[in-house]
């Protein structure tokens, strides 16, 4: 198989685009396409600071890498979950991210360690709070969302970027359609506008297949975490992705068509245009100020005992790594020069 651009040996064939490319042309294409999606969906500009939520996996590290190559002001945010699962999952993930930061001088990584900051790892707080039927995933999602919003707000990032790819989006779309979750379908889009104290949320990789983001990470030499979170075994998302890949193997382009047709129906044909979200009166959480549907504490703040909530605000300042050098929170603005 030959590269369409130079006729050298191709390393990847994207059947949905009828496009095979060699390594240099694939890396070039991937970066150009990311820029195209950022502009098409008006995600952010080069004047805006972008906080990239990183997990140590292929998608988030590839996204951070591409945004830096494109010259965006992109810094990272990492939540240390404290998950071991016999594979030192969180420790290994953190090592991968620190390696990435060390290789990109001048970037900043803001780290929230759940155990250090709140006294418990994610599995521990899930067990104590008895949320999630024995799995920490719902608590993990709640804490991740809260902390991403908090750090973006407190450190002045108007944009929060995640590495969601087309397979993620198609799986969510499939799930929400199976269950006719109209509210979720109405909100699903590559950009969620800012508001209610939340940063704008963007998904610059939303039109890449998952195998394309993995291929980019491999070809760009990004050392990412291959192992999955031990709690993801049996996850609905993975099951739906496998189903969609079976369809894709038989019908090249099926996943892309499914997702893009949905976006087109929303943009051009008015799908959900007259759908009105039930207006829920939002209140500011008494402790953290983030919006919550009921007066009092938000779901995140209700997770923690009083002695944690009463810690001084300095205790919740993230650790910041700059250009590979570890600094204390009070030295957050130090440089490596």
């Amino acid at each position: 198989m030959k590269c369409r651009k130079c006729r050298e040996k191709a390393v990847i064939n994207m059947r949905q685009h009828k496009l095979a490319l060699c390594k240099p042309h694939y890396l070039e294409w991937f970066v150009e396409q990311t820029e195209r999606f950022i502009k098409k969906y008006k995600m952010f500009t080069r004047d805006e600071r972008v906080l990239v939520a990183v997990s140590g996996g292929k998608d988030s590290l590839a996204l951070w890498d591409v945004l830096l190559k494109l010259g965006y002001q992109a810094d990272g945010f990492y939540l240390r979950l404290g998950i071991d699962g016999g594979i030192r999952y969180s420790d290994e993930s953190y090592e991968k991210i620190k390696t990435f930061v060390a290789e990109h001088p001048g970037t900043q990584l803001h780290v929230v360690d759940a155990k250090e900051m709140y006294g418990e790892s994610i599995p521990e707080v899930a067990q104590r709070s008895r949320r999630g039927r024995g799995k920490p995933c719902s608590v993990c999602g709640l804490i991740k969302r809260h902390e991403m919003n908090r750090i973006a707000h407190d450190l002045g990032y108007p944009v929060l970027a995640t590495g969601h790819n087309l397979d993620d989006e198609a799986a969510v779309l499939f799930s929400n359609t199976l269950h006719w979750q109209v509210g979720y379908l109405a909100r699903q889009y590559p950009v969620l506008p800012e508001g209610n104290g939340f940063a704008r949320k963007v998904k610059p990789f939303c039109r890449f297949y998952e195998r394309e983001t993995a291929a980019y990470a491999l070809l760009a030499g990004i050392d990412y975490m291959y192992e999955e979170c031990p709690y993801s075994e049996g996850a609905n998302t993975i099951y739906y992705k496998e189903l969609l890949n079976k369809l894709e193997a038989e019908r090249p382009g099926a996943k892309l068509h499914f997702y893009l047709s949905f976006l087109r129906a929303k943009d051009k044909e008015g799908l959900f245009a007259n759908w009105e979200e039930k207006k829920v009166e939002l209140h500011a959480c008494e402790r953290c100020g983030q919006p919550t549907s009921a007066p009092g504490l938000c779901a995140f703040c209700r997770l923690w005992p009083e002695d944690v909530l009463n810690k001084p605000s300095e205790a919740f300042v993230p650790l910041t790594l700059i250009g590979g050098l570890k600094t204390e929170p009070s030295e957050e603005n130090a440089t490596t020069s």
Partner: protein
Amino acid sequence: MSEQEKVKVVLRRQEWEVEPGMTAKQLLQHLGLNPQSYLVTVNGELVSEDTRLQPGDFVRLVAVISGGRG
């Protein structure tokens, strides 16, 4: 006559040895894996699905699906 060198294949903690000669796509199908869900590297380099495996090649399969509980 010496036995032809096989191809070593690794996916996470699983290992196989297969005969050379098949393509990367045929290897995935032989192992019951969906080519949409895996990338194939041969001797450390990403290869396209029509790449034919040679005696002594070291193949690492990279699972591309990830995701939490939805």
